[in-house]
């Protein structure tokens, strides 16, 4: 049995099912991170004092540059498919995957440095919210990498059997990835600079 409206748009919404589905998923993600941002505001406004300069701004800024670059390569992976440039699509998707990996390696060094100094999430309220927010964000990076690895590997077969559906899947992956980038755009100043 074929699932309807994977490529063609529904007459009532004007959207393919996957498109509306990924946006509803992202809406739930907004609420998830929103709850944690709300927690951060309450903890910070209620604290008698708040630490400043505990995190490496350089490492945070490098990770921001990495994620922004990965957003550009991700949207180019989709645009290349639309322009029927298969090899460019592969290159951009692999680049996005590699940049995501570099982000995590950077984060690993950052975490290691803190943990070596005994600055784990138990050490202070600030470090607890820092590890919670960046840890959850890091899990989203891992999730995105798993999806990208699938489309670089076994999932790429669909490009031959159903190219339009494959293009849609890359678009939805991209929407998720840009959301992950968007969350970091707010995490960076909130945690590293303020």
């Amino acid at each position: 049995m074929n699932i309807p409206y994977t490529v063609e748009t529904r007459p009532d919404t004007g959207l393919a099912n996957g498109k509306l589905g990924i946006w509803l998923f992202l809406a739930s993600e907004v609420m998830l991170f929103g709850a944690l941002f709300s927690t951060y505001i309450i903890l910070r406004t209620g604290a008698a004092e708040w630490p400043h300069g505990e995190l490496s701004v350089l490492l945070g800024a490098i990770n921001t540059v990495i994620l922004i670059s990965s957003s550009v390569t991700m949207v180019m992976a989709w645009a290349s498919l639309k322009m029927n440039e298969w090899s460019k699509h592969r290159l951009y998707l692999i680049l996005t995957f590699v940049l995501a990996g570099v982000f995590l390696v950077n984060k690993y060094f950052e975490y290691s440095e803190h943990l070596a100094l005994g600055e784990g999430p138990w050490a202070s309220t600030f470090l607890a919210i820092y590890f919670t927010l960046t840890g959850l964000h890091g899990l989203h990076i891992v999730g995105g990498m798993v999806v990208m690895a699938y489309f670089i590997g076994p999932g790429a077969k669909m490009a031959k059997t159903s190219p339009e559906q494959f293009t849609n899947r890359i678009e939805y992956t991209g929407l998720y990835w840009h959301f992950v980038d968007l969350v970091w755009i707010f995490l960076f100043p909130v945690l590293y600079l303020l």
């Binding site: 919404t13 004007g14 959207l15 498109k19 509306l20 946006w23 509803l24 809406a27 907004v30 609420m31 929103g34 709850a35 941002f37 709300s38 927690t39 505001i41 309450i42 406004t45 209620g46 008698a48 701004v57 800024a61 921001t64 540059v65 922004i68 670059s69 957003s71 550009v72 991700m74 949207v75 180019m76 645009a79 639309k82 322009m83 029927n84 991209g174 929407l175 840009h178 959301f179 980038d181 968007l182 755009i185 707010f186 960076f188 100043p189 909130v190 600079l193 303020l194």
Partner: protein
């Protein structure tokens, strides 16, 4: 959302331009942090720049500048709930802003652990 390959080709340059603008705004955010502005001003500047960057990602990379009304409707609903989520919890503590709250058993603020004389 563009579906025509020729139309997509035209937007490729825009994607790179937006990417460059995002990197520039990141540099501005870090530079503003080096100036050591007053805390309220620093928070305002950093959040305004982050909002501009986020809007650029949403509008151009996520194609929200030309989407279907169902997407906008679901996002509007999300924004309403997001605002409620951010501000309703604050109302529960709004009467205690600026009040030092000690942990149970800890000496009260300003008493320095000395016993109170009645």
């Amino acid at each position: 959302m563009q579906s025509d390959p020729a139309e997509v080709k035209k937007t490729v340059r825009k994607y790179f331009m937006i990417g460059a603008a995002l990197l520039l705004f990141t540099a501005i955010t870090v530079a503003a942090n080096l100036i050591h502005l007053a805390v309220p001003l620093a928070i305002t500047v950093a959040l305004i720049i982050a909002t501009i960057k986020g809007s650029m990602v949403a509008a151009v990379f996520m194609h929200l500048n030309h989407e279907k009304k169902w997407i906008y409707a679901s996002l509007m609903l999300t924004i309403v709930f997001f605002i409620v989520l951010l501000f309703v919890p604050l109302l529960t503590i709004s009467d205690t802003f600026g009040t030092h709250i000690s942990a149970p058993g800890a000496p009260a603020h300003g008493e320095s652990g000395q016993e109170r004389k009645d």
